[in-house]
């Protein structure tokens, strides 16, 4: 009927969007720069340390991603992490169980319950996510102080297999650190779920256009509930990872981690208004944040300068990404111009 010049080539099926590719380029640049300053950065021990220490933040970004995708936000995750990690640790201290697996399950279950509560308040109570999670951040954190009586659960009070878990490579028979493996599995599962299951696509649909979603029969409240519950589960899981990693449970643990998780997501292309972003991008975003945090102490810059430099790098990274996107778009338009 008509031959039209517009041929929209933006394909969803590619694993990386151009935005993610440009972030990848930026990440590689940063890594290269650091490696030049300190040649031990890319040593296997250093990488192992880095991935191990930040497996928590990296995994937390996934839960945050699902929340951001539906246009919400969850700043209670780090408090949930502390609460579930602390409660599970207290139980282990008191000898209720000593198995690592049970510890992980209990912590995840408690996190799930916390997330469920947050989800209920947001989906049934119709409270804005930012205010609900701000409130719950206070509540869960306060509860952590109260149940722990402001004490730590110290290393000697943990089961030794649990403490070893974070340092060993048993799950993969020596291939990689256990925590890193857990993070990797989470990413793979999430990647599949977000792309190839109805549930994942519903999350995108709700974030993209909630009104349309409800008209097409998606139960928005249920999706919201599920997503916040999932964020809680992740926080709970990470609570156990965190305590295993540091062999210590403290009431102020994980404070501020939610901001790193949000930054990872946004850096990785997740839109705060919902609907946009994917698992590969989040992985890249989280890796960028990790590399920045890990590398700054390594490159011999005074500690007092590190924060400023971290801020600058984040700003430059996001701005360069925008500029790269603009350039890509401009070139696409030039190419189209020739066809006119």
């Amino acid at each position: 009927m008509q031959i039209n010049r517009r041929r929209v080539k933006l394909t969803r099926d590619r694993v990386f969007s151009s935005r993610e590719l440009s972030l990848l380029a930026i990440l590689i640049l940063i890594v290269a720069g650091i490696q030049l300053r300190n040649s031990t950065f890319l040593s296997s021990r250093s990488i192992n340390d880095m991935l191990k220490n930040y497996s928590t933040t990296i995994t937390l970004a996934l839960g945050m991603m699902s929340v951001l995708l539906i246009g919400g936000i969850d700043i209670s995750v780090s408090a949930t992490l502390a609460f579930s990690g602390m409660s599970a640790s207290l139980l282990m201290r008191d000898g209720v169980y000593s198995s690592t697996l049970v510890m992980f399950l209990v912590s995840t279950a408690i996190g799930t319950l916390c997330g469920l509560l947050v989800g209920l308040v947001i989906s049934r109570g119709k409270v804005l996510p930012i205010i609900a999670t701000l409130g719950f951040a206070n509540i869960f954190r306060g509860a952590t102080y109260i149940i722990s009586d402001s004490r730590w659960v110290s290393a000697y009070q943990f089961d030794s297999a649990f403490k070893r878990f974070a340092q060993t490579r048993t799950l993969t028979f020596g291939l990689m650190n256990n925590l890193v493996f857990i993070a990797l599995v989470c990413y793979l599962v999430f990647f599949v779920v977000m792309r190839w299951t109805r549930f994942g696509r519903r999350i995108y649909a709700v974030g993209s256009n909630p009104e349309a979603a409800s008209i097409s029969g998606i139960n928005i409240n249920r999706v919201k509930l599920a997503v916040y519950t999932m964020a809680g589960s992740f926080a709970g899981l990470i609570g156990a990872m965190y305590t295993s990693l540091y062999a210590s449970a403290q009431s102020d643990m994980g404070m501020g981690m939610e901001m790193d998780a949000i930054a990872s997501c946004v850096l990785g292309g997740v839109s705060l208004s919902g609907g946009q972003g994917g698992v590969p991008g989040v992985l890249l975003g989280a890796m960028t944040m990790t590399v920045i945090s890990k590398a700054l102490p390594l490159i011999g810059i005074s500690q007092f300068w590190q924060k400023a430099i971290k801020g600058i790098i984040i700003l430059i990274a996001i701005i360069i990404n925008v500029l790269a996107q603009r350039a890509i778009h401009r070139n696409a338009m030039r190419a189209r111009e020739r066809q006119i």
């Binding site: 039209n4 041929r7 299951t197 256009n209 008209i215 097409s216």
Partner: protein
């Protein structure tokens, strides 16, 4: 099996302060195309939403296949084989076309979505609709019209018994509408029943066998299309007679007011030169996606231009933002009233006065009573159907929203008013009102540039017509020489043809 597939009896639906439907009846036969017509705000869309389970009726019953049913959610209606294309496009901009089509009934095997199969199925659904985008494209990158087509494909994909289309042609040009007619007829021949809502009489006459008319939330009657003449139908809808739909004024055309020379924006359009004289109504037409909207957005300063010059009253001017344009006396009425024209959460009054706050303020301080009186006057002039100027814009019917957008444009003192699809989704009565407003403005010395996909409107109102195709101006026609055929010929010219012409 009875001949009546769907019947609604005594349906009443009240919104806070508004009775949208008052004891309305409706019967849909198996395998028929049934039109619903009525003024803006008559309750057509609400009625549809009652059928599809978006709204629960306060009173009345729905009988499907002889059985009484209650739809508590849109999903319940979908399960009973009812699919709908809503008036306001309800798509997911961040998802692919394929997903938009299959959302809610994805092809899943062992819990895993089969993307390949879905893309293929989407392609098969889209092919007969003659589209030029790929199923994997993001919905957000499509134009409103293209999105409308996807919505149609979506309804088709559901394999529904009853397909409801709420103003599907509002964003389409004639030729595309014809394509839609063909599809619709094919569906009917396959035994589906179709309900279509439209303000275009030709839609109804081309397609429907019966028509039901609503007015002011009331059921007026159901007629055989073959037995009712257009004036009778209009009378049934509006409640009075409309004699002259296109009141083209005999205004004295003055000097050139506005001119652009070889305006271009890389990748969007190129070499656009057009001029408009005082008291002239100029049309800009073409197929959907030919770039008309982008041209006027650029003129209005929303988007930057890469080449070309804009002249106002013979002087070259720079327009970098809508404020610049408005200061120079250029106004734009956007085609996307939901996203660009209105603040849906706001009252009508505030919407109307937004572009000209300073005019109603004392110093920098706003004066609500003055604004409200002004808004009231403009809304009454446009015949907006509302209780008060405090009604939220979102509560208005589509056509009434459009009237509010027109009212907004009337607040400023303008030299040139650009109207992008000003009568999209507007009822006959209101169309007449908008045309009257246009005439009025012309008589006051203003110039008008109308973008429209409706041929009769372009032919009936314009002094001169520019035709675009593929981001290029293909030609210019005078009122006298313009005919539907001439316009279509220009609008569908191939690039090669142009190259030969030089």
């Amino acid at each position: 099996m009875s001949e009546i597939l769907l019947e609604l009896k005594g349906i009443t639906k009240t919104f806070p302060g508004v009775k949208a439907l008052d004891k309305v009846h409706f019967q849909l036969r198996r395998g028929e195309i049934h039109a619903i017509m009525g003024e803006n705000g008559a309750g057509k869309s609400t009625f549809i939403k009652v059928i599809t389970g978006v709204h629960m009726p306060d009173e009345g019953e729905i009988i499907l296949n002889g059985k009484k049913v209650v739809f508590r959610s849109p999903l319940a209606a979908q399960r009973e084989g009812i699919a709908a294309i809503y008036q306001n496009v309800t798509s997911y901009p961040d998802l692919s076309v394929t997903e938009n089509i299959f959302i809610g009934h994805e092809k899943v095997e062992r819990g895993i979505i089969q993307w390949k199969k879905m893309h293929k199925a989407a392609e098969e659904l889209l092919r007969p609709l003659n589209v030029d985008f790929q199923p994997a494209a993001l919905m957000g990158t499509l134009s409103v019209a293209q999105q409308q087509i996807v919505e149609i494909a979506k309804a088709l994909s559901m394999n529904a018994q009853i397909i409801i289309m709420d103003e599907p042609t509002a964003a389409l040009t004639n030729s595309e509408s014809e394509e839609l007619y063909r599809i619709t007829e094919r569906l009917r021949d396959e035994g589906k029943s179709i309900i279509i809502i439209s303000h275009r009489l030709e839609d109804m006459y081309c397609l429907a066998s019966r028509v039901t008319v609503f007015r002011d939330a009331n059921y007026i009657g159901t007629y055989q299309v073959s037995e009712i003449t257009p004036p009778e139908l209009i009378k049934a809808m509006v409640g009075r007679e409309i004699n002259d739909l296109f009141p083209k004024p005999k205004a004295k055309i003055g000097n050139e007011v506005f001119r652009v020379e070889s305006l271009g924006r890389t990748g969007y359009f190129k070499d656009i030169s057009l001029s408009i004289k005082q008291r002239e109504i100029v049309g800009l037409t073409g197929l959907v996606g030919s770039g008309r909207t982008e041209v006027v957005q650029t003129i209005f300063g929303v988007e930057p231009y890469d080449t070309g010059t804009v002249y106002l009253d013979g002087k070259a001017v720079e327009i970098h933002s809508p404020q610049d344009a408005m200061k120079l006396g250029i106004g734009l009425l956007t085609e996307d009233r939901q996203n660009q024209g209105l603040i849906l959460d706001w009252g009508i009054g505030r919407n109307v006065t937004l572009p000209a706050l300073a005019k109603y303020a004392r110093g920098k301080i706003t004066k609500d009573p003055i604004e409200n009186m002004a808004a009231k006057a403009l809304c009454e002039q446009m015949g907006v159907k509302a209780q008060s100027v405090f009604d939220k814009a979102s509560s208005l019917s589509g056509g009434n929203q459009q009237k509010v957008v027109v009212a907004k444009a009337l607040t400023s003192e303008l030299k040139l008013l650009i109207m992008d699809e000003p009568t999209k989704g507007v009822d006959v009565g209101a169309k007449a009102a908008i045309y009257e407003v246009i005439s009025d403005l012309i008589m006051k010395g203003m110039s008008i540039l109308i973008i429209s996909s409706e041929m009769p409107e372009i032919l009936g109102m314009c002094d001169r017509i520019y035709v675009m195709h593929d981001g290029r101006l293909m030609g210019e026609l005078d009122r006298e020489e313009a005919t539907q055929e001439r316009i279509l010929e220009l609008a569908m010219l191939k690039k090669t043809a142009l190259a030969v012409e030089g």
